[in-house]
Symmetry: C2
Subunit: 443 residues, 2 copies
């Protein structure tokens, strides 16, 4: 969940249209609906890495990994349009698209999750994928208890909310779950963050089992987005995954955030760590905005569930969803977006490190590919987080035509996660806007 | 869930392409994937109420309420295409579509669920809508226990699966849930099926509370689709809903099946009964195949959840989903589909009753609008259900170019639920195909 979202009552100084729309939202939508920014942004158009508001103002989008190829990418628009004119129906009839896509998807996985050794299923949202993943993990282990990190977010369903502490105190964590601190190299100061994290996982399993709950698995996104964007050194997750496996649990790699070429070095976030998950869940960027999600699991892991419980998702895997998903995979390859993410992400990281030399409030800069966290602090020595400053920076960036958000337990980490269309030229735009924002705020 | 779905190993006598596709599915998709028909249908095209297979053979679709306006309806195709070219992003920025649609949606509700008294939220699947509905019901009542019918199906998530006995014995019903028999006027022979059903609900509440579980609510689709398509006399549900309310519970109307003009008499299934639900869930036909779902609830009911627990659905309510949903509402009005459903549904019912005079195996024919159940029995006197015959009829119908499915605890009820594009001319096609199928089977 994101720290810079507001209810309508926070808004003031709005133009008439923005005020009217904000009031209409407040009147007819459920109270859960939140808006970004004190003066909400009324968007009407998107293209590539850019968004336009109703006044024709252009924004550089540094937040949306859903429109991962870029907003309104023509390959997805056309693939969906063509398939929608032909046929869109459920998976109890035969159709080639779901099979062609699955072949293509499994080919991106490590051999242990590849063709002949893993199987795929399709849903519509990351929450649905994670809900099923947790059920699969329970079925194969006979366990009940999951481990997640202290700011994790894995979904909106009842089951996934129970392992999503980012939802806050109003949503209880499942009594069988245990939370572990995320592997934050900056804040823990651990010399070996992998060993540090594995120790926490080991202790949580022991605590869980001592209270009579059988361990089912660890669920984590390998970049720990909600915990503050913690890519860490590639490979460090391997030790924790090993602990999970030795305790008889499964590792669920939630790729909703780091998947689909985002982290640059590898196509999947978990692959950066050289680990093989038992279950992989896919979401947000999978259809470039079309609601499609998926689950890939080792054959024997999935069978423990599928042999016993029917599962049918009405819209899941339909020809239009699969056309969108196929266009995404094809375009990532055709446009070389994984390498682009690596190259432009590295450039951005380097420029942000230069920026940090000019602004004492930048405590840490870290990233993998085009997924970057910039951590703001009151004092570099004490590393005291500065969440209020981060919120002010967001507002200043918005005034300078850059949209993004914050993450982490203290809301002090700028989450820089643009569409992969984000180009070399945009690095300068973003860094200049950040520089000017921090200067304007006297920091 | 539907009774006529098979694993690939059941298939024989397939042409080469069908066999190849079936084997590919079996190799790469999870074991949960099932196919309709012994010889699966390989579809490539759809238009209106018709579907075409790879050999160019046309089928009359008498099953799909998802493509409710008709397959590939141009209004939806064009609305989605236009919006996909403009913008598709999440609800933390302002956008008009979600507000215009919500105004239009709430105007279809009874005054107690209309503007100023109810609020809407949007997700991607009926399962997500029902999962949230159950959580809302728990939040507002402080209760835990739900009542559902003995063959109900409300979703694929962990929480909704717990009130979905149609999933079979592999999926346990939630320990806090209670099941009641559906209001089946044909099989119970109850003179007043409303009083009969209300008695069952009353007893289930008493049983639940005597075991220490506080009652949260009743969840039901008002046509009891999975229980065998039981429209019953309009109004009969009112007594049970009254029992629920007097016991402090909420009534969740699952409109995934009967909603959006399907039952003809009213726009919503619950409205046939003159009841006002506390929560209404929307799904399948809402976007004519685009994954969009929703929840409408009385303001104070929803607030009990929303004031405490954050909820954000990444794809829910996005401009493309809302464009599809708007095109559906607009087209239902523009094409007069509610009245069409009533008129053509009544004609179909009348013709099926004539058919029943020629075939002793037809035990009952019932329906509301274009949602019809035809119940097959071994003997009209004993009403012994004939599930095996129903499966044979499905296969015979498929040979005659008609696609449909079965429902009910005995799998003996043909579920006739075509796209609303189903026309007067199609009544004759369907009835003739049924007549010929029963004759061919010697019944």
């Amino acid at each position: 969940m994101d720290g810079n979202s507001f209810r309508a009552e926070h808004a003031d100084g709005l133009d008439a249209t923005t005020r009217a729309l904000t009031e209409r939202r407040d009147a007819v939508l459920g109270g859960s609906y939140r808006l970004f920014y004190r003066r909400p942004v009324h968007l009407v158009h998107g293209r590539g890495q850019y968004l336009w508001d109703a006044d024709g103002r252009r924004y550089l989008d540094v937040y949306n990994n859903v429109a991962s190829l870029g907003h309104c990418h023509p390959a997805v628009v056309e693939a969906v349009h063509r398939q929608m004119q032909e046929l869109n129906t459920h998976t109890r009839y035969l159709h080639r698209r779901i099979l062609d896509y699955t072949d293509d998807l499994l080919a991106t996985m490590p051999p242990e999750l590849g063709p002949g050794r893993a199987r795929a299923m399709y849903m519509c949202t990351g929450s649905e994928a994670n809900d099923l993943a947790l059920r699969v993990a329970r079925a194969v282990t006979g366990g009940e208890g999951f481990i997640a990190t202290t700011e994790a977010y894995h979904g909106t369903s009842e089951l996934t909310s129970g392992v999503s502490p980012a939802l806050g105190s109003g949503q209880p964590i499942a009594p069988t779950a245990r939370l572990v601190p995320a592997p934050d190299a900056y804040r823990t100061g651990a010399a070996d963050v992998g060993a540090w994290f594995a120790d926490r996982v080991r202790a949580a399993i022991a605590d869980m089992e001592s209270s009579g709950t059988r361990f089912a698995g660890l669920v984590a996104d390998s970049i720990f987005s909600s915990d503050g964007v913690l890519p860490g050194p590639a490979g460090y997750l391997a030790e924790a995954v090993d602990v999970v496996h030795r305790a008889g649990g499964v590792f669920i790699a939630d790729e909703v955030q780091p998947g689909f070429a985002r982290t640059g070095e590898e196509f999947w976030g978990f692959a950066r760590h050289g680990v093989v998950p038992d279950v992989v869940t896919l979401g947000k960027p999978m259809g470039n905005g079309v609601p499609v999600s998926g689950l890939v699991a080792r054959e024997e892991v999935l069978a423990a569930f599928s042999d016993r419980v029917p599962y049918f998702n009405t819209f899941g895997g339909n020809p239009v969803s699969m056309a969108a998903a196929q266009a995404v995979l094809t375009t990532i390859r055709a446009e070389g977006l994984q390498e682009h993410s690596l190259v432009v992400g590295s450039l951005l990281l380097a420029e942000l490190r230069v920026l940090a030399q000019r602004h004492e409030c930048v405590g840490d800069v870290r990233g993998a590919g085009l997924f970057t966290g910039l951590e703001l602090v009151r004092d570099r020595g004490t590393r005291e987080p500065d969440g209020p400053l981060a919120l002010e920076v967001l507002e200043e960036l918005r005034e300078r035509g850059v949209l993004t958000s914050v993450a982490g337990p203290h809301g002090n980490v700028l989450k820089l996660r643009p569409p992969l269309a984000f180009a070399r030229e945009d690095v300068g735009t973003l860094v200049t806007a950040l520089d000017d924002s921090l200067t304007a705020l006297g920091r």
